[in-house]
């Protein structure tokens, strides 16, 4: 069989969101995924976030940079935590914020996403922060907004959660300074995790050479190697000589769909205790996107212990989201 060549009627398209999320000068216009973004852009996001970290220390915790802009938090899936950080980030930038929980309102009345978008654009929204249970939802919306509107992905299905990944990278940079010599392990439900996908892409781009994912086979993507990570089924092996451990949240519904037997057995095999922490390097850093299921993903002693930077992640979350909002809106200006 000699049909290895690609028929010309189909153009080869590797996944590449650059055309959609960068403008003609190669600057961020939307922030949909970490994939295909350069190291320079990721570094710029962290640098700008660094500048914003001082705003939280001001008496008036606000800068006027996005004064007069209208940002719509468009949440098709409920998440008070994530929405709050975006809300606060927008307000610290002096933008006007509208929070819409569409999970229960418009779409259940049969209104399509496009109708919702058109309506909000008619009210002169400048940015949509989108959370949706379908992978690709943010891409879909970005493909359908007017040219002056920016879209930030606040989590789409199992696809991407780029702001969470960037706040994690920002936190790692604060603690470890340099990415190139790190061993990083991500533990948990990689298969369904938009956070893990974005983290793996960001870690790869930033030059981390050893990225490991630790999970039972039922919770790993089929082609995890193509993501640039090594899979481990054994926690002890996976944690050996690791500098950073990123825990993922385990959703309860995984038990119901026969992916795991019980929380108890999960904790026994993949839960993080102080004892198991000893497999990693002595100065290991432990991260978790929150909220933690204590006793399922890790025990309280680790979550609240000296290695944990979980609250630092929360603080950084606001600065990173301020950075991404400022960069995308700063760059999406059309003439006039």
């Amino acid at each position: 069989m000699s049909s290895s060549k690609q028929p010309a009627s189909t153009s080869f398209k590797a996944p590449d969101s650059s055309r959609l999320q960068l403008d003609e000068q190669g600057r961020l216009r939307h922030f949909l995924t970490v994939e295909s973004l350069s190291k320079d852009i990721l570094t710029e996001i962290m640098d700008v976030a660094e500048s914003f970290s001082s705003v939280g220390h001001q008496a008036v915790k606000k800068v006027p940079v996005l004064r007069g802009k209208t940002i719509v938090n468009l949440f098709f899936e409920n998440s008070t935590r994530t929405r709050t950080t975006f809300d606060l980030a927008a307000k610290r930038l002096s933008a006007d914020v509208i929070n819409l929980n569409i999970a229960t309102s418009a779409t259940s009345k049969g209104e399509s996403i496009l109708d919702t978008i058109r309506n909000l654009e008619a009210m002169h929204a400048d940015m949509f922060v989108v959370r949706h249970s379908d992978s690709g939802a943010a891409h879909f919306i970005a493909n359908n907004v007017e040219p002056h509107v920016s879209v930030i992905n606040a989590g789409d299905g199992s696809h991407a959660h780029p702001t969470q990944a960037m706040l994690d990278m920002f936190t790692i940079r604060q603690v470890k300074k340099d990415f190139s010599n790190l061993n990083v392990a991500i533990i948990g439900d990689i298969l369904h995790s938009r956070v893990a996908r974005s983290q793996i892409q960001a870690l790869n781009t930033l030059g981390v050479k050893d990225i490991r994912v630790i999970a039972p086979r039922t919770l790993l993507p089929s082609d995890v190697g193509s993501l640039g990570a090594h899979a481990y089924g054994d926690l002890r092996q996976g944690l050996d000589n690791v500098d950073v451990i990123i825990m993922l949240r385990l959703q309860r519904e995984r038990m119901g769909s026969a992916l795991l037997p019980s929380e108890h057995e999960y904790f026994e095999c993949f839960g993080l205790t102080e004892e198991k922490l000893a497999y990693a390097k002595p100065d290991v850093t432990v991260m978790h996107p929150g909220p933690i299921n204590r006793g399922v993903e890790m025990d309280a002693a680790v979550a609240d212990g000296a290695h944990s930077v979980i609250l630092q992640q929360v603080t950084n979350g606001i600065a990173v989201r301020m950075a991404v909002m400022t960069l995308t809106l700063g760059h999406s200006k059309v003439a006039g």
Partner: protein
């Protein structure tokens, strides 16, 4: 009406013939080849110089959307698109509303097709009542009403007990059973091939085992019951080799592949392009190559898998879009492209589109034998055309080939010796 098709290259693999010859048509049948019958006066002469004269294509799998989904397409719109693409007969799946599980729905479809006057529409009756997978449909009545097969496609929501009994019952009435090999529990909410793309985009994957587990079960059941089973729309290399072995063991099982599966792969999904959301999913390049090998070796026929949709059906985040391509009009150019690239011979093309499907359905078409119904298409292989709104007849514009240049176009189509399409 007496019709003469002059000077065309006649390609008829059923009779092992390929050469320039005149075709004489009278009373809806092929009257003679090469020599003019005594007393023949052509009322219409078609000059087919530099063109190819082929038996009309027979599509083993299309959803025509009527009754019930006329906002997507109608029998009139799609059977017109079919003849413009060289199809003279189209099998329609029973996924209508109401479901094609009673003679009255079958009759309605046949009446609509006759009224439209383009391609023959050959209904597949539902295998189970309401396509719900519980109760056997009245297959004998459906057969009497004109159904050429019974089918659970495009679903496969049927448990092994009901499936086994349905095959036994269909065998009783010598009915072909058309199934989409898909284990719905393994498929779950999957919407793309489980592989590189599902891993990267976080889309729920459909493993190859969703197809092979279903085929393994069907091979056993077909062998045990003796029923004739046709698998429509297979997608994996493993499925091709399983079929080859089953056919070698003389199990009455045939299969088809959708033409676009011979070209596209999972990578074409790119970044969530819903035009590539199809069922079965686009798989890897090696699967695509094995499917083509299956066509070359005669293990597989080629179908359109035609699924026309209204624009809104594709305007949503990828997993929430409806699967399917409006594909009737791209099958021939896609197949000719393979011929151009010398991956397929012209006679293999005709076998896979016309003769093969006719044999599976037990029709006397699919060949240009004297006495056979004059279901014929004439093709200008070198003509290029662009896919755009004015060159497109299907009501569904959901094709990933929109805007592409295609090579090879039908100039005339005859159904039962009647000119139903001519440019």
């Amino acid at each position: 009406m007496n019709i003469l098709i002059k000077n065309g290259r006649v390609v008829d693999p059923a009779n092992g013939y390929d050469g320039v010859q005149d075709v004489f048509i009278a009373n809806g049948k092929i009257e003679s080849l090469g020599t003019e019958p005594a007393g023949f006066t052509a009322e219409l002469t078609i000059d087919a110089s530099d063109q190819w004269v082929m038996p009309g294509f027979v599509d083993l799998s299309a959803s025509l959307r009527e009754p019930g989904y006329e906002h997507k397409a109608t029998i009139a719109s799609e059977s017109k698109a079919a003849v413009s693409a060289g199809y003279t007969a189209v099998c329609c799946l029973p996924d209508t509303t109401p479901v094609l599980d009673t003679p009255s729905v079958a009759q309605l479809i046949l009446d609509k097709a006759e009224e439209a006057g383009y391609a023959k529409v050959l209904p597949f009756g539902a295998l189970t009542v309401g396509l719900e997978g519980h109760t056997l449909s009245e297959m004998f009545a459906l057969k009497k009403a004109g159904c050429v097969a019974v089918s659970q496609a495009p679903k496969n929501n049927i448990n092994s007990q009901v499936l086994r009994r349905a095959l036994q019952y269909a065998k009783t009435h010598d009915l072909l059973v058309v199934l989409k090999p898909e284990d719905v529990l393994i498929k779950d909410r999957g919407c793309v091939h489980e592989g590189a793309i599902s891993s990267r985009l976080g889309l729920a994957g459909i493993p190859v085992s969703a197809e092979t587990v279903a085929i393994a079960q069907l091979i056993q059941l077909a062998e045990e019951t003796g029923a004739r089973v046709h698998l429509t729309g297979i997608s994996s290399a493993k499925a091709v080799s399983m079929l080859a072995r089953a056919q070698f063991a003389n199990i009455a099982m045939t299969a088809d592949v959708h033409a676009h599966q011979l070209h596209l792969t999972e990578l074409d999904v790119g970044t969530f392009d819903a035009n590539y959301h199809v069922s079965p999913p686009l798989r890897s390049a090696s699967d695509r190559d094995a499917l083509l090998a299956g066509v070359v070796e005669g293990i597989l026929s080629v179908s359109s898998g035609h699924q026309p949709h209204e624009a809104e059906a594709k305007q949503a985040p990828f997993p929430s879009t409806e699967p399917g391509i409006s594909s009737l009009e791209t099958v021939l150019p896609l197949m000719l492209k393979l011929v151009d690239e010398k991956l397929l011979s012209l006679s293999q093309l005709v076998s896979s589109l016309a003769h093969g499907p006719s044999e599976i359905l037990g029709l006397e078409t699919g060949c240009l034998s004297v006495g056979a119904p004059a279901d014929i298409c004439i093709v200008k292989a070198k003509e290029t055309w662009q896919i755009d709104e004015k060159n497109w007849l299907s009501r569904g514009m959901n094709t990933p080939y929109l805007g592409h240049q295609m090579k090879g176009r039908v100039t005339y189509t005859l159904v039962n010796g009647r000119l139903v399409f001519g440019k």
